[in-house]
């Protein structure tokens, strides 16, 4: 390879960004990943969730080539990551959970050398490195080594490094672990922007609201097996109904109204589970017509956390 390598443009094909078939990974007697299959379409924002030790990082390591596969196949935009490993790896950008920067290089050189390992000569990527440093607010630190960066800056550098070779598939392992709320929101915006520009993103996270907010599709892994894989909306809708709670000015005593409501300790509050949205307004009007004053209305949807716990609890 001389000069810039031709980047295979994965988005021009119909192959999924990631296709895993029957992947197993065994460490001695321990089966860390047990015959999983996954499909992530090009352009998707995909959440890969699971508890600690469920097999998330092992799966990611198998995808990026850091773990040898025990059985099964992994394809990146149609390229087998074992047979056609060079193309497959060139298409992936990884932002690992732990900081693993080269301590002998400056921040700027970390980006330039990483691009070098991917086959891009320094002269071809200097501009892009500076652009990424600017975009991630790291320009003032460009000449320092990474030990001088704050936690948030290290997170941003992880992401900048993963993007230096313009990957089509970005894999983020806990990208917002240990960062404050402000930076988390900033990173979310950045990720949405990247995804909108065509980068397929796979994200693992412990913050379920993060997956709920960002991901269009979600897979949940538990003890090395996939226990759910579907669009976020459907997953949220399928598990656990939405609940509407109406609090009245006094104890409710007209059971002919508000059919299907349940009450708990507070006798003034009615809870409606899985109420058809079309019925909400007529029901409230009925209650008011019966002389009740509505003091509070609360709508509570099952959170991804509830669903997650329901799925992974033994």
């Amino acid at each position: 390879m001389n000069g810039s390598p031709e980047l295979y443009d994965g988005s021009s094909t119909r192959s999924p960004a990631l296709k895993i078939d029957g992947l197993s990974k065994r460490y001695g007697d321990f089966l860390a990943v047990d015959n999983i299959s996954l499909r992530v379409e090009a352009g998707d924002f995909f959440g890969f969730l699971g508890m600690n030790g469920a097999g998330k990082t092992t799966t990611i390591n198998a995808i990026v080539g850091l773990a040898a596969i025990s059985s099964g196949t992994i394809e990146i935009f149609g390229h087998d990551n074992v047979r056609d490993w060079r193309t497959a790896r060139r298409l992936i950008g990884l932002a690992p959970q732990e900081y693993n920067f080269d301590r002998y290089l400056s921040i700027r050189d970390i980006l330039i050398y990483q691009a070098g390992y991917y086959g891009f000569p320094a002269r071809a990527v200097r501009e892009r490195a500076d652009m990424l440093l600017e975009r991630f607010g790291l320009t003032s630190k460009a000449r320092d080594t990474y030990v001088k960066l704050s936690g948030g800056m290290k997170r941003r550098l992880t992401l900048a490094r993963a993007l230096i070779h313009e990957p089509k598939l970005l894999i983020l392992d806990e990208p917002t672990a240990g960062v404050d709320v402000e930076l988390r929101i900033e990173l979310w915006d950045l990720l949405r922007e990247l995804n909108a520009a065509g980068t397929t993103i796979i994200l693992t996270t412990h913050y379920l609201e993060e997956a709920e907010s960002l991901c269009r599709n979600i897979a949940i892994i538990e003890s090395g097996r996939i226990v759910a894989m579907e669009p976020t909306e459907r997953l949220m809708g399928r598990h656990g109904p939405a609940t509407l709670s109406v609090t009245l000015d006094r104890e409710f005593s007209a059971p002919s109204l508000a059919r299907g409501a349940r009450r708990d300790g507070d006798l003034r509050t009615l809870h409606f589970d899985g109420l058809d949205p079309a019925q909400i307004a007529p029901m409230l009007i009925e209650l008011e017509a019966a002389g009740y004053t509505i003091e509070n209305v609360e709508f509570r949807r099952a959170s991804l956390q509830d669903i997650f716990l329901e799925l992974v609890r033994p």
């Binding site: 773990a67 596969i69 790896r89 060139r90 992936i92 002998y104």
Partner: protein, 266 residues
Amino acid sequence: MSARQAAAGVLGFGNRTGLATLVKRELVRTMKVINQVIWPPIITTVLYVLVFGLSLGSRIPQIQGVSYAAYLVPGLIMLQVIDATYSEVSSSIFQGRFMNSIQEMLIAPMSAVEMVAGFVIASILRALLIATLVLVVGALLVHALPHNWPLYVLVTALVATLFCSLGIVFGLLAEKFDHIAVLTTFVITPLVFVGGVFTSTRFMPPLVREISFANPMFYMIDAFRFAFTGTGDVPLAVSLGTVTVLTFAALAIALRMMVLGVKLRL
């Protein structure tokens, strides 16, 4: 790991930019630890030449046609090349594993061949730099200069490749930093010191001389000194042949371990 996967890790020499980047990275690292790698060989050489070569050596007759101090210089160069190459490569690999920074390379489209070649080429360049710096000291103090420059470069490159390979092997196997020192302390240093740095086997009792012939360091130093004195304790073909065989054996082991991803790709 299947044969298919093993092949995937080794095939191809296509990512030359990746290889060149690794070479550059290793040399940048060397310059960042210059007080551990570049200056010590020069200072210790000056001290050895002054204390052993010029003070004590003045009482020793010529060896292989040169003064004892001039005889000492090639041995000292080998001593420093061996020491610096092994310690640099093994600690670079071990640190990379320990800090996980080696993953920057492992996730990139770089083959095992390219990675090993990167370490080897950087080691040869580093070794030639150290050898030349020590040589300058030797030339200034005792006018020791090689007569056979191609042999000088060849032996330096072979020895750098050999100890780079050993550095890779032990850098991969080590579980803690201390393990790296095992080879230096118990094998390299003793063998180098009795391998003819300071004296010719011709001055040794017959039994010790026989044992010396089993010492691989002896052949490296003898072949290298041949570039300076034009003569050796054994024929050049024997010393150079032995070094070459050892080098390619160690290189094959290092390459095999890198292909398998020993302690790298779990």
